[in-house]
């Protein structure tokens, strides 16, 4: 998995590429928690090139979201491939995470 980080309007945009599984989830966890510890509160995860996710990936996102809620932060995801979205739906994560279609929508969701 590769994770490309950029910042737009104070929002950390993290582009994930490849597989988010048992072996790569710790990398994402480290990256997200380093940013959260560094004071970042708003995250938009670009899933356009995310090909695969297992429960290990869901777990990291859940941990990050819980941590962010404590500090009134937020994490949204966008441009999920159909089969990746299916995992979110099955796990009931679609209700817990805002899943948006595009980066524009994702960035807009932080306005309110």
């Amino acid at each position: 998995m590769e994770a490309m980080e950029s910042k737009i309007n104070g929002i950390v945009v993290l582009g994930l590429k490849g597989k988010l599984d048992t072996s790569t989830a710790p990398q994402l966890q480290e990256k997200l928690f380093a940013s959260i510890t560094g004071g970042e509160k708003q995250f938009a995860i670009d899933c356009a090139q995310l090909e695969y996710i297992s429960s290990a990936g869901l777990r990291v996102l859940l941990l990050a979201a819980k941590q962010l809620r404590n500090g009134s932060g937020k994490i949204v995801l966008y441009a999920l491939k159909t089969h990746v979205k299916e995992v979110f739906d099955l796990a009931g994560f679609s209700a817990a995470f805002p899943l948006l279609n595009s980066q524009a929508e994702a960035l807009l969701s932080f306005k309110n």
């Binding site: 597989k19 599984d21 048992t22 072996s23 695969y52 996710i53 297992s54 429960s55 290990a56 869901l58 777990r59 859940l62 941990l63 979201a65 819980k66 809620r69 089969h83 995992v87 099955l90 796990a91 009931g92 209700a95 817990a96 995470f97």
Partner: protein
């Protein structure tokens, strides 16, 4: 068209990457759809991760055997390990309707496996755990 492959893995999380390669290679030979491949890949990753992470009480190297076969529109995967007796089918289902603050991180893996596979059976046989996963692929999307 039927085919079978037997592969051994060590109880190290680094093996998950090789598992993905093994399953993908088998899927390509058997012309599974990308969706079927994805669902089988996730299921086997969840099962192997559980075994590697929780089955052993010592730090020694252990062998986990995967027998993957495909025949008559059905995929069968058998996972055999010599770890402590553990029936993943007894794991409580997570409450997927709880709000995020109350969601637990455990139990999600086996929950996905149940959703993705048609049938799961567990047996404790000769000091080994044997989990059999079946997935029908007739009329698959």
């Amino acid at each position: 068209m039927s085919a079978q492959v037997t592969v051994s893995f060590k109880n190290q999380l680094g093996e998950i990457e090789r598992l993905g390669q093994v399953v993908t290679e088998f899927a390509q030979c058997q012309h599974w759809s990308p969706q079927v491949l994805f669902e089988v890949n996730v299921s086997l990753e969840e099962i192997l991760t559980n075994v590697i992470s929780y089955a052993y009480e010592d730090d020694k190297e252990h062998e986990i055997v995967l027998r993957l076969s495909s025949a008559d529109g059905e995929i069968t995967a058998e996972v055999e390990d010599e770890g402590r007796p553990f029936n993943p089918l007894e794991v409580a289902e997570p409450d997927i309707n709880k709000p995020i603050e109350e969601r637990q991180v455990g139990g999600l893996g086996i929950y996905l496996v149940r959703k993705f596979m048609t049938d799961l059976t567990y047996e404790r046989r000769e000091e080994k755990n044997l989990l059999t996963l079946k997935k029908k692929i007739v009329n698959e999307r």
